[in-house]
Amino acid sequence: MNVFIRAIFILLFFSCSQIASAQKNLLQQEVNIAPGTYTTQELARELSKQGITLSYATASLLSAPVSLTAKSHTAEELLPKIFVLARYSYILRKDKILIIPRNESSITISGFLEDAASQERLIGANVFLPTLGQGTFTNQYGFYSLTVNDPNDSLLIQTSYIGYQDKQMWLSGHQDHKLDMALPTSQMQLEEVVIADKDIRMTRSKMSQVNLTVKEIKQLPAFFGEADVLKTIQMLPGVQSASEGNINYIVRGGGPDQNLILLDGVPVYNASHLFGFFSVFNTDAVKNVEFIKGGFPAQYGGRLSSVLEIDMKEGNMEEFHGAGSIGLLASKLTLEGPIVKNKASFMISGRRTYFDLLYRPFLEPNNDVGYFFDDLNLKLNYKFSRKDRLYLSFYTGRDKLFEESTEDYSTGTINRTTRQKNHLTYGNRTAALRWNHLYSDKLFSNLTATYTRYNLLIGQEYESLDRYEATEYFSRIEDYGLIYKADYSFRPNHQVKFGGSYTHHTFKPGAVQYNQVDDRSNVDSTLRFSPTTLSHDAFLFVEDTWTINTRWMLNAGLHYSAYLVNGTFYNSLQPRATASYLLSNDWSLKASYAYMQQYVHLLTNSGAGLPTDLWVSSTDKIAPQKAHQVALGTAKALWGGKFEFSTEVYYKYLSDLITFKEGTIFTSSANWENQVATNGRGNAYGIEFLLRKSKGPTRGWVAYSFAKTTRQFDEINEGEVYPYKYDRRHDLKVVVTHDFNARFNMSLSFMINSGIRATIPTGTFADINGNQ
């Protein structure tokens, strides 16, 4: 038995050896072909004629003709000249050579992009593989990951980011790469440097999205010397200021409450200082600004019209830095540096106005009147390893208007003093604790715990010898939340993002605390005009950016949101999609659709525009606001990529809007739910043009938009459609900055637009008693 098995093994061994030998012989078999130029198909036929049978698809043939100088060749020598062996391989079967597609192996190139000097992560930087026509942008934490089909060859990687030097390097194929890159800042580029193959990246820019660096924002003309993020946003097409000089902005016919403003991922409910003249964002503490007005990625939700994502600086990991400024309005001081070099860093920035301090010496001794605002930004970050990083960011800011007076008087022999204090205080506080974790080169995750609060207090206090009385009106919205987001580059040409969020809202739309102490009574009570509302807000999302081929790209996603308030449950599935098609290397077409739902509402007075606006929740009576938006656009690089021209046309339909009823008095103590008109509908459409130059010593843009927006409520204007307050028909903006040298820069901004709508009386009439 043993001998028998051994015999079989020996037989098999010889058989296999024979087959292998035969196959080897097939590849080594010589063929004779006269020197000359042949098409690959002719060569394949010639091989077959000479006894080497080939089985192949014509797609596997190389297109370039082959020149042979020698007469004698082996099959093994000829096959690479005939077939695309980068995508096909050959195997021997019996007496044939089969040409078959290679296994779809892929490689992943991933890493972080950082500022070379400070190690600050770079957000929205472009990472591009020109040989494959594929690319991506770094995410909010500077991470990128590209999974591509293995090119079986070296491939070029390029990076670009405004304000930084471009970088490019060759990488070998067949293997994954962990490639962290540190980009040096670009020095003055007085002469334009044009790299032709960047045109593709330019036109691949995202639809209805703009990235602004702090450098760009700081170079624009500033009111009272305070560069302002929101005023820069207002210079973009499709974005309008709510009123002249005001930082509240309106996007594509939406309302001022339909803009999601995120500071390090945390919503900011009132972004204004000085009654709307300045924003709360201190540009010394800001790293990056991304603005989205349409084609919303599925990761965003909760607002109908725009998303403004602002990221604070992380702090320099290498060395200590400080910057301070004394402006006409405010002074600022920013400090940053390593706590543990290359491991942990901090950034702290403060700002305060001081005109209350300047004029205080000129006031009467018994009176004190003043106004100031201040801000504090703080960020700490700790790098546990390349895979884990922890961030803590904190912001607090307030505006305070105050008045205090003391009066001395005497009644008979008794001297009395009365003291009266009034104040209006409002402000935001936000905090985020974030953990970045890299599970693998393909999977990046971010878990953030968030807190945000907006407070409004109006108080008055009276104190005399025998009586103390204090009244305080307060309104508040406060959120606690948890957000998980992940980027997964799981297969070639696909970049998937998924995640979820939970937020607990507390709305206190208006309450009064009253305290009175005198010789007869001691009253301490709280009156609520509108009940406190607690709600639970959650969403899940998934989106995929699919590079279909070198021309087509699609971003499609789903956003599912759920909202529970006072036993009423709302939910919605919101599809989002953006597609782009490259007509040529420098010209693209884009289209987008987004459905959005918003569960919080801002009740704002149409006249005063004071910070006394109230944030309120959807309730069983008040449905969430909804919007569908479609947009079509095109972008083209002009004059060798020096300029980019883009135009977008959009249509937005809004429903379930709310607004104050006619004649409602904002300061009324009635429950807000009884004061609003519901079931409002809105239409907005328009066309926007943008011509932008981002590089070179002279930069800037020209933006024009034509827009129309209307509203319709059953209870307003007798149910007739009327122009929305912010229906500005024409809007032209010009921004130019020019660097003369490294120290001298000038900028110009110009804006002209149609006025906002107002309801004015056109006639008077008398009542039955003759009262006019």
Binding site: I458, S606, G607, E662, A670, T759, G763, I768, G770
Partner: protein, 320 residues
């Protein structure tokens, strides 16, 4: 330009050392900088004349039809907003009255009153016809030079005042609890006023205070309501929307005038919807037209092709 080359202004001096120190591109940039500086430093002001929109003048027809009373109406016309004068009241108009679709009378200008702070008069078109509850009335009015106007209203049934409790708290304040029953057959709109009536002088309308969020109070005098203030005003407005089992107890605080000879009254109106909306919007408009915290409001009208109101009321006057 070369040294000594004449142009039409004479010889142009040449500074070769400057030409090398200031190459042309730098000069161009300086000129560019100066130009930008000039643009930024120079501002201009232009006064634009804006034409205020003016609409054609229209007839204003006003009439309040009260159950159990005779009919009266006035006819005037609108004025442009920029005209600060008083609307003229017309004597030469033509008003007809229909009851439940039947022509019942032509109103004639039979009475007038002198208009306050003005030398002109208000003419009243009257009819001796007695207004009936639950009847529908239509008024048509015309005057040469104006388009015809018309309005229709329905007279509601009286509110059923079940109980009144009047408590004097102190010399500054008293509390009234009024229980009202809603007539089931109609969607009801109520208004309450309190007045101290002096037979020899004008009535004094009391200021009412309420903490009931379903009762709206408005004052024609435009009291600026701060968040700390409870609702206050001269007329209490409420509808049967918040009635429970067809009943509602309205609690009002007020201060009445108990001077000698005064009669203190509570007037409870059951109103047609159009008159309720007109009165409410008129009161808000009068009070808050100049208030920056108030949303604009258009005074409601049910007059087709014109302005004013033809409203229906059933009222009860209760002496305290």
């Amino acid at each position: 330009m070369e040294k000594g080359v004449p142009d039409r202004f004479g010889y142009f001096p040449s500074f070769p050392h400057l030409a090398t120190a200031l190459p042309f591109n730098i000069m161009k940039k300086n000129i560019y900088a100066l130009l930008i500086l000039f643009i930024t430093m120079v501002s201009c002001q232009k006064e634009l004349k804006v034409e205020y929109p003016e609409n054609d003048s229209k007839l204003t027809l006003n009439s309040v039809l009260s159950e159990g009373r005779t009919v009266s109406a006035t006819l005037s016309s609108t004025l442009p907003y920029t005209n600060t004068g008083k609307s003229p009241f017309y004597k030469d108009g033509f008003i007809t009255l229909y009851e439940n679709g039947q022509l019942i009378d032509t109103l004639l200008p039979t009475d007038y009153t002198y208009r306050a702070q003005s030398e002109d008069t208000i003419w009243y078109y009257t009819s001796g016809h007695i207004v009936k509850a639950e009847s529908s009335y239509r008024m048509l009015a015309s005057r040469p030079g104006f388009d015809k106007v018309s309005a229709t209203t329905r007279i509601p049934k009286k509110a059923l005042v079940k109980n009144i409790r009047h408590t004097i708290l102190n010399s500054f304040e008293e509390v009234l609890e009024i229980e009202i029953e809603d007539p089931e057959s109609q969607h009801s709109f109520f208004m309450i006023e309190m007045a101290s009536v002096d037979p020899l002088r004008d009535s004094t309308i009391a200021t009412l205070i309420s903490e009931d969020p379903t009762v709206e109070l408005y004052s024609y005098f435009g009291l600026l309501k701060m968040p700390l203030d409870p609702e206050r005003g001269e007329i209490a407005f409420f509808t049967d929307e918040y009635f429970i089992s067809g009943k509602k107890k309205v609690i009002l605080r007020a201060r009445l005038d108990y001077s000698s000879g005064n009669v203190n009254q509570i007037i409870v109106y059951s109103s047609s919807e159009d008159y309720y909306e007109y009165t409410r919007s008129f009161a808000i408009n009068s009070a808050f037209a100049e208030n920056p915290f108030a949303e604009p409001i258009r005074v409601k009208t049910n007059v087709e092709n014109g302005f004013g109101i033809v409203g229906g009321l059933s009222l009860q006057i209760i002496n305290l």
